[in-house]
């Protein structure tokens, strides 16, 4: 079989607990973003656009939504006879059955998958970020610098640096030190969770790591420090374009709002770097006679009779006459009934916001309504609050 030069392993098993109710029933990479995408569309489209045609997606937490979304991979042109996209859940063997214990362990358990393609390099990705990146360019630098591992880094504002894995580099961008969430950061170069390993190095270090009973089997906590300890050549690849961690309710909301600026902070319209997504089979959206729609993003299947300002609406959202949606993100299939007012909120998929509900407030933290929630008439959700069906039945029971 022909060798693959580089294959990608996408870590999609994380729960994303900081996203609260949003990830109660689905893994974080499956969370909807930007009107018609899901978070995982970004790394997958980046792979396709970077000519990386073999991607293993490592799933563990709530994989159903993700599995059915990825399907055959046709959406991203990844339905190939040799290569393509593979969903790789944890599995049992004759003598053990293990969940993925950590990021490094997840990849270690799939060495068999990697070896069938006999690659020279392995690209490790996470399903947590919104960005457009040419991995091929990074691979080229990795090869040119004869690095053992190349880690993509991005400068972040100093005040938020303590919440990232920070790389300290020398004048040639060689990584000299890695600090996980340092209190006093020496640099503001955050790891983007995008690594390129020379396969031989990955094989050795992940095998050794697996044999170490004290290891947490994590790239940041174990693998990178071990490589540095042994004096391996770790190179920092600087990335300066838009990159947003959408791991919290407020950052997910902000990243959606970034799309509405003119010009947008993050441009999805570049025909040479399309972001692919599985499109629902729906007609164009309809804006009715008395509707007001401004500074917003609207997609197929929506029916708008009410007022929508500064918001992102996903496929098949209905906004009835007299309803108001402002500064909000409304996910697929949700219905906002007349008289309801939604401000600074994220409303998940397939919800019904009944008449005269008040969700979120003009100021304060972002409110969240969980998946498939039907809010009773006149229900109020305060700024920063989260509500789902369980919460409502509890309240009704009381």
């Amino acid at each position: 079989m022909k060798k693959k030069k580089c294959i990608a392993m996408l870590l999609a098993g994380g729960q994303g607990s900081r996203l609260g109710l949003l990830t109660k029933v689905m893994a974080k990479p499956a969370v909807p973003f930007g009107g018609k995408y899901r978070i995982i569309d970004f790394p997958l489209s980046n792979c396709t656009n970077s000519n990386i045609d073999t991607v293993g997606v490592l799933t563990q937490y709530r994989p159903l939504e993700l599995n059915s979304y990825i399907g055959s991979g046709q959406t991203w042109d990844l339905d190939l006879s040799y290569g393509g996209v593979y969903v790789l859940p944890p599995y049992a063997t004759a003598d053990s059955s293990e969940w993925y214990k950590g990021t490094a362990n997840a990849i270690f358990q799939n060495f068999g998958f990697i070896e069938q393609f006999d690659p020279e390099y392995v690209l490790v990705l996470s399903g947590d970020h919104i960005y457009k990146m040419d991995y091929n360019q990074m691979l080229q630098e990795h090869i040119d610098r004869k690095a053992d591992v190349t880690i993509a880094v991005r400068p972040v504002p100093w005040e938020v640096a303590p919440s990232f894995g920070i790389m300290n580099v020398d004048a040639e961008n060689n990584i000299v030190e890695f600090e996980e969430k340092p209190k006093q950061p020496k640099s503001n170069l955050a790891s983007m969770g995008v690594y390129i390993f020379t396969w031989d190095i990955m094989k050795k270090y992940l095998t050794d790591d697996n044999a170490d009973p004290n290891s947490k089997n994590d790239f940041g906590k174990n693998i990178i420090p071990n490589l540095l300890r042994d004096g391996k050549k770790l190179y920092a690849y600087a990335f300066t374009s838009y990159w947003k961690d959408v791991g919290t309710i407020s950052s997910l909301w902000e990243a959606n709002m970034d799309l509405l600026k003119d010009p947008p902070e993050f441009d999805l319209t570049d025909p040479r770097w399309k972001i692919y997504s599985r499109t629902p089979v729906m007609p164009p959206h309809f804006i009715a006679d008395d509707a007001v729609v401004q500074n917003s993003m609207i997609t197929e299947g929506c029916e708008i009779d009410g007022t929508v300002r500064d918001s992102v609406l996903f496929a098949g959202v209905t906004v009835e006459a007299g309803a108001i949606v402002e500064d909000s993100v409304i996910m697929p299939g949700t219905r906002i009934e007349s008289g309801a007012v939604i401000r600074r909120s994220i409303v998940s998929e397939n919800c019904v916001i009944s008449k005269n509900c008040q969700v979120g407030e003009a100021e304060g933290d972002i409110a969240l309504v969980g998946q498939s929630t039907t809010l009773p008439e006149g229900y109020a959700v305060k700024a920063g609050a989260q509500v789902d069906m369980d919460e409502i039945s509890r309240k009704e029971g009381a």
């Binding site: 509707a291 500074n295 609207i298 997609t299 197929e300």
Partner: protein, 378 residues
């Protein structure tokens, strides 16, 4: 899966559709913001569990091929069956052009013989209808009919045909047992109000036999040389099936315009898109962006548009740009139309990728909308 295959006949370019068909088949005309006319026919077939579909293409089939591709958007890229495009070809017997549907079927006998399904649904693709053919299939099999013709009660909106071209407008006389007693072809004043929808069901082997017989006797017309003699002689059992859903034949610019405007009615949208999905080629556009000066009313808008102007009673296709100060009323703007600032448009149809520069004004009549051809800059 049904034991039925579909054959879709795409008619030759129709001059009454002016610029819209100068470079494409009627079946390939863009409609309803993101579709082509043929999407409705294909989706109806697929939604009726028909998985072997042959498309009889005519000479100008480039745009159709480009749209259909492998058929994957209709789930017709299967290992057996799937989508077959049947363009005219040149042999000792064929002149490289189809002379009507019978001639096209004759030229594609190999495909018909090789197919395994018991029945064929033979349909045109110049109409908008989203239905399931299952009830007709059931009736056809149960009644033991040789041929079943689909019809609809004619109303003025449906029969608003072109007066200049007589394009196989057929009306049926149907008795209480759904047996077809008479067919009128292109009457000036029809005696019956049952409009034949150019959709018929027949056994595959019988279709092959009839086509062979008729062509070898030098005849070419499905309506005058097959249906009329068989109905009149009673040699075959020809039944009718009444379709009750939305149906519009796209035959004139006015008909095209009216259909697009029809989509602004919730009832029509619901009938066409509410239950059975309509599949089409995906384009991976971003969602539509509304800017601060956007004022949009009663309009159907596809993805990928950027709107900062005023839009009323319009259908905007994918990737249309409406700049600040522009005013659009009763317009159909196809893919990638670019309306610059302070432009005023009323009762206008733009084919794909038309650009209109700042401060221009173009006002048509509702009864006779202005049509601007593809890739033109005004």
């Amino acid at each position: 899966m049904n034991d039925v295959m579909g054959i879709v006949y795409t008619s030759k370019d129709d001059l009454t559709l002016r610029e819209l068909t100068s470079q494409r088949a009627v079946a390939a005309i863009p409609v309803a913001g993101r579709y082509r006319i043929i999407d409705f026919t294909l989706s109806s077939l697929v939604n009726s569990n028909i998985r072997n579909v042959g498309i009889i293409a005519q000479k100008n089939y480039h745009s159709l091929m480009d749209h259909l591709g492998s058929g994957k958007d209709w789930d017709l890229h299967t290992r057996n069956n799937g989508l077959f495009i049947l363009p005219p070809f040149l042999t000792r017997e064929n002149g490289g052009e189809y002379n009507g549907v019978l001639d096209a079927l004759r030229a594609n006998f190999d495909y018909l013989r090789r197919s395994r399904q018991e029945y064929v649904i033979l349909t045109n693709s110049d109409y908008i209808m989203n239905t399931s053919f299952e009830p007709m299939i059931q009736q056809h099999i149960k009644s033991g009919a040789d041929i079943t013709l689909m019809y609809k009660k004619a109303t003025p909106e449906i029969t608003e045909f072109s007066s200049s071209s007589k394009n196989n407008h057929c009306f049926l006389n149907v008795d209480v047992n759904n047996v077809v007693k008479d067919i009128e072809i292109n009457p000036n004043a029809a005696s019956y109000d049952n409009l034949y929808l150019n959709v018929m069901m027949i056994k595959r082997t019988m279709l092959i036999y009839i086509v062979d017989q008729v062509i070898s006797h030098g005849s070419h017309d499905l309506y005058a040389d097959v249906l009329r003699p068989f109905i009149n002689s009673g040699a075959l059992k020809i039944m009718a099936f009444e379709e009750k859903g939305y149906y519009r034949r796209i035959e004139t610019i006015r008909g095209y315009f009216n259909f697009n405007m029809d989509l602004l009615k919730p009832g029509v949208r619901n009938e066409l898109f509410g239950s059975n999905p309509v599949y089409t080629k995906t384009r991976d556009s971003v969602p539509t962006i509304y800017r601060g000066n956007a004022k949009v009313k009663n309009s159907l808008i596809a993805d990928g548009c950027v709107i900062d102007g005023e839009v009323e009673n319009c259908v905007l296709f994918r990737g249309v740009n409406v700049a600040k100060g522009a005013k659009l009323k009763n317009c159909v703007i196809m893919q990638d139309g670019y309306i610059e600032d302070d432009v005023e448009l009323e009762n206008v149809i733009f084919d794909k990728a038309v650009t209109i520069r700042s401060h221009s004004r173009l006002i048509g009549q509702k009864q006779y909308p202005i049509v601007i051809g593809k890739n033109i800059t005004l």
